[in-house]
């Protein structure tokens, strides 16, 4: 076996409150493709960042060709022969392909005129040699994503990198483009380069990789697995870890379940709904779903498969391009205000984007929806009754144990967990007929996560229809009565009760 070209030894990296990487070892050898597999948040991006000089490890060693090195910046990574193709490409849209490829290569201290023609020739020659077809004169901004990725790879190859890191390279590609990319990568491997393929798609591992390393919660749980001989199920199990012990279910709910009374009338129904994401691509295609009173419907999936759009549809923030969205049997217009009037509770993980204004006080945040639809504490002419505002805030903060219990404090001054309690206190007061949650426990510690779970169960017991969209498979499995996997904008029904392994396979695009 050839000597490794890059080695990581005992890499540890912590961020405030979390350990991103804990004693990670990894090696890359010339002429092989290694897959680095892991769920969102497993530490893949941190590891790549360390190799490319974007992140400095707290401890541990990086060796290149056997010599310990310090990768201080992308420039020093490139000098060591390590290149990265970003998940979200780092290209300037106004430059031509040739300019992008040549950018930053000039070594001379004196400014020199850029020879566009020569650059185009060099790029064309490189493009011919590698099989990465691009037009050197095309403007990057005009190119489809698949071609921009080729530009990124060409850019790395122009610097003759011997180690190529690819972060989720197929995330933006159509199936045909994936085939092309893989054949190019196979050729680069055969030239003796080392390739690190960072992914959470099991299929790709089997197709391209030679060996697999699996990362879970910042630790290497398996390494040097032969990619072709390892079964998808085994990889999925390694990625996800063992199922956590299920939370004790509420007795009330269990009893109802026995009597077959859990689910009532449909509160939210989507029929054959298609919707576009912010990038103008179809994010949801032909989704049909019913959420009924007294049940939690879970949607599992890897981030970026349409979760955001599903949440926005179910809270009135996004209009479908096709299909029907109904609230209690009546067509629902895409108006957040109508959804607020209908009492729909919305609990997003990204609090500051969609639920909580950090620069407003707790009491104002708690009253936002009431004031928006001119309910108390808003009175005639929209004047806000201060004592009613204070009183209702104190009540809600008491009930949901928001600390500190100071309604006048700015919401942004609270800890993340207490901010989420503030959101829960607003959304779950009254008895909402429908609760829509998207990664409701993102970024929370274990205690706060348990609290969120309890609140969702309580809403279900109170008769709410609960739609829980989450990238945390455990959360879905432990809470949902029924579950689906969301993969590439399509919903795939799982069995009842939800089965962890089956959902895991489905959400990774695997077969049932």
């Amino acid at each position: 076996m050839t000597e490794p070209i890059v080695e990581l030894r005992g890499i540890r990296k912590t961020y405030p409150g979390t350990v991103a990487l804990d004693g990670v070892d990894l090696e890359l050898r010339p002429g092989e493709v290694r897959a680095l597999l892991g769920e969102n948040g497993a530490g893949k991006s941190t590891l790549t960042g360390i190799l490319y000089g974007l992140v400095r490890p707290d401890s541990g060693e990086v060796r290149v060709r056997g010599r310990p090195v310090e990768v201080r910046s992308p420039a020093s990574a490139l000098a060591l022969g390590i290149g990265l193709v970003h998940q979200h490409f780092a290209l300037a849209p106004s430059l031509t392909v040739a300019e992008s490829v040549e950018l930053g290569l000039a070594r001379s201290l004196l400014p020199r005129a850029f020879d566009a023609k020569k650059a185009a020739e060099t790029t064309a020659e490189l493009s011919r040699r590698t099989g990465l077809a691009v037009d050197p004169w095309a403007r990057v901004g005009d190119l489809p994503l698949g071609v921009r990725q080729r530009v990124e790879i060409l850019k790395a190859l122009r610097r003759d990198v011997r180690v190529l890191l690819l972060d989720e390279p197929t995330a933006v590609l159509a199936p045909g483009e994936v085939d092309e990319l893989f054949s190019v990568l196979a050729r680069l491997r055969d030239e003796g380069r080392a390739i690190l393929l960072i992914t959470h798609k099991l299929r790709e591992v089997a197709r391209l990789a030679d060996r697999v390393t699996v990362l879970r919660r910042g630790r290497v749980v398996a390494t040097d697995l032969p990619a072709r001989e390892t079964h998808e199920d085994a990889l999925a199990a390694l990625m996800m870890g063992e199922a956590h012990a299920p939370e004790a279910e509420s007795i009330e709910h269990a009893k109802k379940k026995e009597r077959g009374e859990t689910a009532g009338a449909a509160v939210l129904s989507l029929r054959d709904v298609t919707a576009f994401g912010p990038d103008g691509r179809e994010a949801l295609s032909g989704v049909s779903l019913e959420v009924r009173q007294g049940e939690i419907v879970g949607i599992a999936g890897v981030a970026g498969n349409g979760q955001d759009e599903l949440y926005r549809l179910a809270t009135g923030l996004l209009a479908q391009t096709r299909g029907h969205v109904e609230l209690r049997g009546a067509p629902a217009a895409a108006s957040p205000r109508d959804f607020v009037l209908a009492g729909v509770a919305a609990i997003p993980g990204e609090r500051h984007a969609l639920a909580l204004a950090p620069s407003l006080s707790c009491e104002e945040n708690l009253a936002l929806k009431d004031v928006a639809v001119s309910r108390s504490p808003a009175r005639a002419l929209g004047v806000i009754d201060r004592s009613a505002l204070r009183k209702s805030a104190l009540e809600r903060m008491d009930r949901h144990d928001v600390r500190p219990r100071d309604p006048a404090r700015l919401a942004g001054e609270l800890s993340g967990g207490n901010q989420q309690k503030l959101v829960l206190a607003r959304e779950l007061s009254g008895s909402p007929p429908l609760v829509v949650a998207l990664d409701p426990s993102r970024g929370l510690d274990v205690a706060a996560q348990a609290l969120v779970a309890r609140e969702l169960e309580r809403a279900r017991e109170a008769g709410a229809a609960v739609l829980l969209v989450s990238t945390d498979l455990d959360e879905v499995v432990s809470l949902a009565d029924r579950a689906f996997a969301l993969h590439a904008g399509k919903l795939l029904a799982g069995s009842i009760p939800p089965d962890r392994e089956e959902l895991g396979r489905l959400m990774l695009g695997g077969a049932r």
Partner: protein, 361 residues
Amino acid sequence: MTRGERVRARARDLALTFGLALLSVLALGLVVLAMGHDPRAALSAALDSSLSIERGGLEATLKGAVPLLLCGLAVAIGFRAGVFNLGAEGQLVLGAVAATAVGVHGPAGLPLLAIPAELLAGALAGAAWAGVAAWLKERRDAPEVLATILLNFVAIQLAAFLIDIGNPLNEAAATYPKSDAIDLSAELSPFLFLGVQVPQGIVLAVALAVALDFAILRTRAGLEVRLSGASPGVARATGFSPLRARCTAFLLGGALAGLAGALGVAGVTHRLYRGPGAGAGYTAVAVALVAGLRPAWVVLAALGFAALEAGGQGAQHTGVPRALAGAVSGLVVLLALVQGALASALAARAARRTAALEAAP
């Protein structure tokens, strides 16, 4: 931080700002000395012309504060809603034009009719001019900073055209650009209060500031404006309309600036000359920032800037260049901005510390 603490912090900020400004005045005194003038004479002339009751200084300050206060409110409410309305100057100019037209040709004879008509015309014209900027921003994606500033030039040139020799608003016998005088019944004259000639405009402006302060802090519309400016996504998701908030802020701001122009014509110049804004619409940005975008504090900030301006004019008579007063104003703004950045950095640090303490078991 509780609301009381925040108010105290703001008061501290303002006191500190003006204290530092005082220090810089002292430093400027040294400069004046070095230039061979008598700093004491300059300072006493400055005080006479900005604060003294007997010599009419206080009147000059109050008069100068009217446009600064109203335009400061316009800027403040815009910034609160997330709209960078730098067009107060142009909105003021259009307000002055409309008020002149109504004051000259409108209902005359009865002040109770003529004055409201004139002021209303000014406010509506200012709002309409701001509406143009709002339309460019919301419907045509034009950056509002550019749209509002460029519309200022258009407004100023339009006013200059209208009063030029032979043009619609020009006085028939005039040998230089000015409009006809407004009807006597459309003039607002100051009233005597404790020996001071108080312009009626300042009373109206302060009343509006108090009303706006209440509206911003204590009404649904005010909450919509604050929330939309700070967290537009949250505003939309909770059932508010950031678009409506921005348009309200634009139109209301335009009306306030237009009113400032109308009050200038009705209470000070009684006719339209070139450049009715005299830069008040731009100084207003500084006024609003120093006041931390709180309407109630805008009153104090406007009075402070007006006093500086009046004092600078007075000091001029002792041979001190007037530019020095401008330098003091500039310093005040810089100090306020640096202080604001410093204060928010400190607040953020405090918030992090609180969060860390609560995260700990």
